[in-house]
Point group: C2
Chain length 187, copies 2
């Protein structure tokens, strides 16, 4: 079928979902994002794209630290809530059970299967976005999310986000083993 041109402002299909935690004005605050990914393996650096005027960003700039929390499908309502309302207007410090790791300035979410404690590595200003590069200092999970000593995606039960339809999706079936299925084509 022939290609058609559409508006260039599309999104990847689908995007991972994380809840960013930070202390803002002495209060823990949480904000949901989908524009992020790992950018450097070792040292582990993740990039998070935040609106330049986001409330959460004020706390990240002030403390130079933040958390990245990966929610599971049971947290979808709370995660969506944290993406709808701003900490400038409402207190989101009671939405989750909070725990702390090494740093008192990094609130993390007990209910999330995976929590990363980060320190600012760099900040890059884009036209309408501040790209926060965070170096991961420590990562927290629970035995129940692991299989044979490794994080298990099916046990983590994450959800992804798609635009422009604005839907959250569960993890589907395994399609193939990476770095393996391609060897078939190679021959």
């Amino acid at each position: 079928m022939s290609k058609i041109k559409i508006k260039p402002t599309v999104s990847p299909f689908p995007m991972p979902v994380a809840i960013i935690g930070a202390i803002v004005n002495n209060r823990p605050n949480f904000m949901t994002v989908a524009w992020f990914n790992r950018l450097n393996g070792n040292p582990p650096i993740w990039g998070i794209a935040l609106g330049t005027n986001q409330f959460t960003l004020e706390g990240i700039r002030a403390n130079k630290t933040f958390s990245i929390n990966i929610p599971n499908t049971s947290l979808v309502e709370k995660a969506d809530y944290c993406g709808i309302v701003s900490g400038r207007n409402v207190d989101k410090s009671k939405v989750f059970t909070i725990f702390y790791g090494e740093l008192k300035s990094v609130p993390m979410i007990q209910e999330c299967p995976l929590c990363l404690e980060c320190r600012i590595y760099d900040i890059i200003e884009l036209p309408r976005i501040t790209l926060v590069l965070g170096e991961v200092l420590s990562t927290y999970t629970e035995d129940q999310y692991m299989s044979e000593g490794k994080l298990d995606p099916k046990k983590i039960d994450p959800f992804t986000f798609s635009q422009p339809d604005n839907k959250y999706w569960s993890l589907g079936d395994k399609v193939a083993d990476a770095f393996t299925i391609g060897k078939t084509f190679k021959k």
Copy 2:
């Protein structure tokens, strides 16, 4: 259950998958990536994390242009192949049917549901990674991937990638409507 600390070099769950296209040494080349996302909405800027010595990066630097192609599950074998072998050693120009949009330096993949024609916006050097920021100039799809004038994730049928288990996953069931389910919690 109590939290345990694991190695900080973990990945988001799960990551989107794209195949990057570029002309390298006068030949179209394709390379599969999972460390990328949209970073700025308008203008549309996407960030792609590439190993600093990647063959594809030489072409992106030389032409200042590249493509981002979102594959569907039927392309998993070819996509994985393009993530395993380097264009430095093998000719990947015949793996897909190639088409061009506005720019002769941006090979795109006919078989992919979504193709983005990009120009370098900025390049940021990280410890072991070159973060290529690309401004999306044009986006190409087909009518068969749309519903009511919008891109439809289920019709696109993308797959995601998880580490450390190294698996590709299909899109699962709809969990909830974004910017909607959270309103319930709000009340």
